[in-house]
């Protein structure tokens, strides 16, 4: 069990890199092993040769000793591409805990980037509002992590959220298959999103959605009537929380259910992160998703193996 770091204490650290290291170093227990086999320097196991295997992989020395064909298997070095898409729209500038959702999202992105970087994955990053702000290509090389931090450190301009255009651009930019981690509050109408997400999935990207929410967005707090100002549109609304609380809760839950269904239909994992939750949870969620996918992949491989026999 690793120690959980309070997000409020974490956000007091000014340097984004230190924040990411503080989270990952407390969590990290070693490099993960890729479940996929391939050519590498690290020996994995011997397996009897079967038809269809590449003859180049046969260990001829073992054949000389045992008169059997064995395939020598190595652990493959990962070449997975991870993209972190971070929403920096005006609604992400909201925060009731002394820091904004955007701060939390940037810290989360930096944490994930550091985590994947340590795993020798190629990590890229893109920030967006209503349009793409900045894009850093996924690479694993010295200085890449600093480039990602510099990109995340840019102060957001703060315009309205529009997920449609960024998702279209993502589909255009990301040619190679990879893991896409979408970090946003998703406080947008969902009508036009599904088509774009489905298109991304069709390009065989693995997608995970981290929805960042402030605790005060889940539940309307307070009793006094107040003028609410929309952070994105500037629209003013006189609201009495006591009257509106129940209606808000219903609408919010409905929207979230819609989102989850939409993502579920497309095989996308959904994680809701409140800004008062420790960031390590995101790493656990990623591990869970990875292990779930690995087991399902092995199961599928076993099924296909049995069917082949």
């Amino acid at each position: 069990m690793t120690a959980q770091i309070d997000p409020l204490a974490l956000m007091r650290i000014k340097n984004l890199q230190l924040r990411a290291k503080a989270v990952v170093d407390g969590f990290y227990n070693g490099l993960h092993r890729s479940p996929l086999h391939g050519f590498s320097v690290e020996f994995s196991e011997y397996r009897p040769y079967t038809e269809g295997d590449d003859p180049r992989t046969i260990d001829w020395r073992l054949f000389a000793r045992t008169d059997r064909y064995y395939i020598k298997k190595f652990e493959d070095e990962t070449n997975r591409r991870c993209y972190l898409a971070v929403d920096q729209s005006k609604s992400m500038q909201y925060g009731s805990l002394g820091y904004t959702k955007c701060d939390y999202a940037r810290t989360l992105a930096a944490t994930l980037a550091y985590y994947f970087h340590l795993q020798r994955d190629a990590v890229g990053c893109l920030t967006f509002e209503s349009d793409l702000i900045e894009f850093v290509t996924a690479r694993h090389r010295p200085g890449q992590f600093q480039r990602l931090l510099a990109s995340l450190d840019n102060e957001p301009q703060g315009t309205a959220t529009n997920l449609v255009r960024p998702l279209e651009l993502l589909a255009e930019i990301l040619h190679h298959r990879g893991l896409l981690l979408l970090i946003s509050d998703f406080l947008v109408p969902l009508e036009n999103i599904e088509k774009r997400i489905a298109f991304l999935r069709a390009r065989r990207h693995e997608i995970m959605v981290f929805r960042i929410l402030d605790p005060s967005e889940i539940e309307l707090v307070g009793t006094d009537a107040i003028t609410m100002v929309d952070s994105e549109t500037g629209q003013r609304l006189y609201v009495d929380p006591t009257k509106e609380r129940e209606r808000y809760r219903e609408k919010f839950a409905s929207h979230e259910n819609q989102l989850q269904e939409l993502l579920g239909r497309n095989g996308i994992d959904y994680v809701r992160m409140l800004t008062n939750e420790p960031l390590q949870r995101a790493l656990f969620e990623i591990l869970n998703v990875q292990s779930r996918r690995t087991s399902s992949a092995r199961g599928a491989a076993a099924v296909s193996g049995r069917s082949r026999r």
């Binding site: 909201y94 967005e217 100002v229 609304l237 006189y238 509106e244």
Partner: protein, 694 residues
Amino acid sequence: MSFLAPFYFLAAAAIALPILFHLIQRKPRGEQIFSSLMFLSPSPPKMVRRSRLDQWLLLLLRALALLAIAFAFMRPFFRSADTMESGALGRQRLILVDTSASMQRTGVWEQAQTLVETAIGESTPQDLVAIYKFDSTLLPVVSFEAIQETPPAERPNLLRKAIADLKPSWNVTDMGRGIATAAETLQAAVNGQNDEESIGGEIILISDFAGAVNLSRLEDYDWPQSVRVVSRVIDSVTQSNATLTPLAGLNNNEDNEIGLQLLLTNSPTSEVTQFQLQFLDSNAQVLPSNITPYQVTAGERRVIRLVDLPAQATSIQLGGDSDPSDNRVYFAAPKKRPTFVWLLQESTESNETQLGFFVERIPLGSSTLEVLFKRITSADMTTPPDPKEVALIIADGSIEENAAQALRSYADQGGKVVLALDQPITDSNKSRTELALKKILANDEIQLSEAAIRDYAMWSRINFKHPIFAPFADARFNDFTKVRTWRHRNITLPQSVDSPLAAYDDGTIAIQEIQTGDGRIWLLASGWQPVESQLALSTKFVPLLLGIFKFSGEVVQIPASLYAGDTLPVQPDTRCVSPDDNEISPNNSQAWELTKPGIYQLQVGAESKPIAVNIAPRELELSKLDPDRLEQLGVTTGALPTAELVRDQQRLMRNTELEKQQQVWRWCILIAVIFIAVETVWSSLSATRSAPAT
């Protein structure tokens, strides 16, 4: 009522602030920014509007308090009628015009006159304007005293006429001295004026600032604070200008040829690069010569050496330059004056046993003097020569009685004689030599004998203070021990004769000087031939004989280079004639003033000696001085404030003084405090009335 700072009345606009604050519609309280309103529905608000004034008296009291404070800051005061008037103000203006040689350049003087006209024109009737000129000294053209004696209506015409008649000189500039003297003159004029009618003194300096302007006088000058300098710089009319400067006077080179060194300078902005040189005679007619043209690019300078000057040439002129004022250099070929040195010897042959053999080899002549030697015997010397023709007679020990008598007469008339007893005294010649010596020295108590020397004798007790030996006085040159004498005579003179210039180490006379009338006789107890001593072969011989020769003739030396503005000491029986054939009268300090370039003539009887006078090289410099340099030397520059400005300042000072005396602002502050106190009391009372009872 008047105000010292009326702009503070704008502060009264602060009265509007309480009203504005009151009337501004307040926004409803409790506004909160939220991330998204997409899940919210509006609830109808209840707004209350409040925009009417209900405390009129309080508002009035506050406004009056603010008004009183603003009034206090305006510094009000009451002005009486007698402080409104102020007398007419004027300046003391000294128009200082540069009249040095550089102002002779084409178009420069016309500009200077225009600038003076402008300065006169911009003066007000209250100003006191005087004109002074300066080159090497400051001189009044129209002094302050003269202008004060003139009726005000006639002053501008007087000034304009004076500047129209003024011409530049050929003298060198001493701008520092001119400005310093002008400042003192102006300071005296300012001090002579009533303080309430004078703004101050102003020097309008009109100059081309050309050449190497001398400002050294200003370096340690304590500049008077009430005097300012306004520089009006005259620009060159011609872009292309070249100057010809004499580097040195006429001189003889090694081949005894007379040569001339000139410096040809071309201005940096010049468009001409090729120049011709022409020799001119005394009537300014061009003489034929074969001087090739010279190429000098813009901003460069070139040294030109000329030999084989035509005999009639008195000047050389630069051709091809657009400004002719500085293109002529005068020179005067010196005429060598012949003078004789007689060698009175035993025979007229020239060999190493004779004294004259060594003297003839000494270059006694100079660029102005040609020395001719003449060998004679005692038989030839029957009458004394004229000392003006024969500068020196050198006689040896073979001198006869009649020749000795002539020598004495020659010396009495101012002639110089060296008598060296270079023959041993024997019984056969003792009486003859003694007799001759007695005749020359006009003394019968002289005795001669041959000195008994074991090996050699040396000079000692030399009088280095005497002009003949003075050049040897330095410790590096005063060693005479290598001048050994193999044989000499013992000369016994009467006690009345002065001590010898040098003696032998046995105490007997080596060299004795005897003064007779205007002349002198130097008696040597030995010859300088090698058989007698080592003197002729030593390094001391030539300086010693040159000293004796120069001692014999005191000629006034004319400087090699004379420039316009220099003076020449008056010489007896000589007339000085200017280039335009007018005889110059000496000034108060007995010197001739050489006022313009050209060939002057020094006439002694029928003989005439030419002297060349040129423009000073400093005036021919093409560079210009930056007028800001005056400020660096502590001179207060810039124009005086106008009479209106000074009057405004004086009025402001008077107002400030009145306001300080009256201090009305204190009353305003007191009224404001009273208003604030009443407002405080009233507001507390109204608050108490409106509060609900508990």
